[in-house]
Amino acid sequence: MQTVLQQVINALSLGAVYALLALGYTMVYGIIKLINFAHGDIYMLGAFWAYYVINFWHLNFIGALLSSMVIGALSGVVIEYFAYRPLRNSPRIAVLITAIGVSFLLENGMSYLFGANPRSFPQVIKQFNFNIGGVLISNIQILILATALILMVLLQIIIQKTKMGRAMRAVSVDPEAAELVGVDVNHTISFTFALGSALAGAAGVLIGMYYNSIDPLMGMTPGIKAFVAAVLGGIGSIPGASVGGFLIGILETFFQSIGLSAYKDAVVYLVLIIILLFLPSGIFGKNTREKV
């Protein structure tokens, strides 16, 4: 029982990071139907920025988190403006390849500038464990969960209650109609990228603290797993992405704990293929049929 609870705690903190990433994927996909491959690399940028500001400017956790979110948001907007906006009316495969190119550029650019070796993330908060009935919970895990939950609630408020959120929802349903009723579509898409990328930046800081190690290629695998999470929850659905992220975290931790950790990535991809086949619209997705 204790080991089960212990694994649940580990799974939740890992899942929270996937959920934060998946939210960015799902929002961008919902609004311009693009798998933003570069999303995982914004997460990497966030982690590197936090590494930098903590080591050289001696910022505390909150400062590093907020500044990483700002950097994430900025890079998301810049990428959208220069790489995706010129291709707004191109075939989707062209945009997808551009996204892959951007992801490559960020990864290789970072390894060129800072070296490809992993480096250890500074211990900005001293780690200690709470022992609750034999289950160890570290303060970092609590911090990750709490931060992720706060950000998710904030996001939900922005999308449901603000004017910009309403514009986002309108554009994701029908961009042309939204434009007709006076929504600035470009502005809304930029805002969506900023929001999603800010969350990715935050996820980067959290994962840096959790694993203590960052490298320029750290974004690729979590990025794809987060996309799997978004698909699992129903792409385009905000609560779906959160639930999907937690589910992927649980799945991965489960396979790790039963001794199949070598196959944990394969299992995630297998789940993706199965989900796409039998439940293409995910758990919370709407079922749409193609018009003939």
Partner: protein, 317 residues
């Protein structure tokens, strides 16, 4: 067939002349080991990219898992030639690699080809990663450290002959009745289905043929380089093959040839830049997509026939 015999003969002559030219240049010493290495890499890339172009350009299925099938071919060759150290062993290993990769492609294709566009891309990428993950954890493949001392049976001549053979097979396939069916599926699969084309069958046929060529390329790669590791066949590899296809023009076989040669030379020139090479690669990919999304040749082909007609018309006027 009768109508085109001139062009068929011309192509045959060009192929033989190319072979003799390279052979002579090596004998004279103009082509040293370094350039020969580049030629072999270009050749392997041509086989990979024409196969992928069949899947992406002609059948319209966006696959990101080409490196997975390449890995199957490479490991088949490595494992078999280490135990059967002869030319016959090499041949058998290529065939076994193809058969294995066809079987895997059938399974993957049956599962994923019902998806379209982005979803298919992600699913095939996932499938390739599953293949890599399995190879990474098997004993016979040497795990994550890979395999060493693979006997070298692949020379530039083998690569040259196989480039010609796979290209002939692929081009004939594309220009046959089946090729037209595949193009119909690419243009609009609902309309194609309404015309009585079995869309699943043709999508699968293109996918399987592409996978088989990837396995050949993988076998050549393993045998020429003599060492392989699972990390050679990751997402990066799939994407660099995709770059060749996209740069040449999705749906143009001659474009793929052109792009493979251009990129092969560029790659050799940029070798000294190390990490910057990949940065330039990525930047080029983005710029091509923004400014010329159709690639070097679009979906046009360079053909002797048109070239011939071009000249004869000039003479007449």
């Amino acid at each position: 067939m009768k109508k085109n015999w001139k062009y068929i003969l011309a192509w045959l002559l060009i192929m033989i002349a190319g072979f003799c030219l390279i052979d002579a240049l090596i004998a004279v010493g103009v082509i040293d080991n370094f350039i020969e290495n580049m030629l072999v890499t270009i050749g392997i890339n041509i086989i990979l990219a024409t196969g992928l172009n069949l899947i992406i350009g002609f059948s319209g299925q966006f696959s990101l898992g080409h490196a997975g099938f390449m890995a199957i071919g490479a490991y088949a060759t490595a494992i078999i030639t280490q135990r059967m150290d002869s030319n016959l062993g090499f041949l058998i290993s290529l065939i076994v690699g193809m058969i294995l990769s066809i079987i895997v492609a059938l399974i993957v294709g049956f599962a994923t080809l019902r998806l379209r566009g982005d979803y298919l891309a992600i699913a095939t990428l996932g499938a390739a990663e599953i293949i890599r993950n399995v190879i990474n954890n098997l004993k016979i493949t040497g795990g994550s450290s890979g395999m060493f001392n693979i006997p070298q049976y692949c020379t530039w001549a083998t690569v040259y002959v196989l480039v010609c053979l796979t290209t002939i097979v692929l081009l004939n396939f594309v220009r046959s009745r089946s090729g037209r069916a595949i193009k119909a599926v690419r243009e609009d699969d609902i309309a194609a289905e309404a015309m009585g084309i079995n869309t699943t069958k043709w999508k699968l046929a293109a996918f399987v043929l592409g996978a088989a060529t990837a396995a050949i390329a993988g076998g050549l790669h393993a045998s020429y380089l003599q060492t392989i590791a699972p990390s050679d066949f990751g997402i990066m590899e799939s994407i660099s093959i995709l770059v060749i296809v996209v740069l040449g023009g999705v749906g143009s076989m001659t474009g793929t040839f052109l792009a493979a040669i251009v990129l092969g030379i560029l790659d050799t020139v940029l070798q000294n830049f190390g990490a910057l090479r990949m940065v330039i690669y990525a930047a080029a990919l983005i710029l091509i997509m923004i400014f010329k999304p159709s690639g070097l040749l679009g979906n046009r082909e360079l053909s002797l026939k048109k070239l011939g007609q071009h000249f004869t018309r000039k003479q007449r006027s």
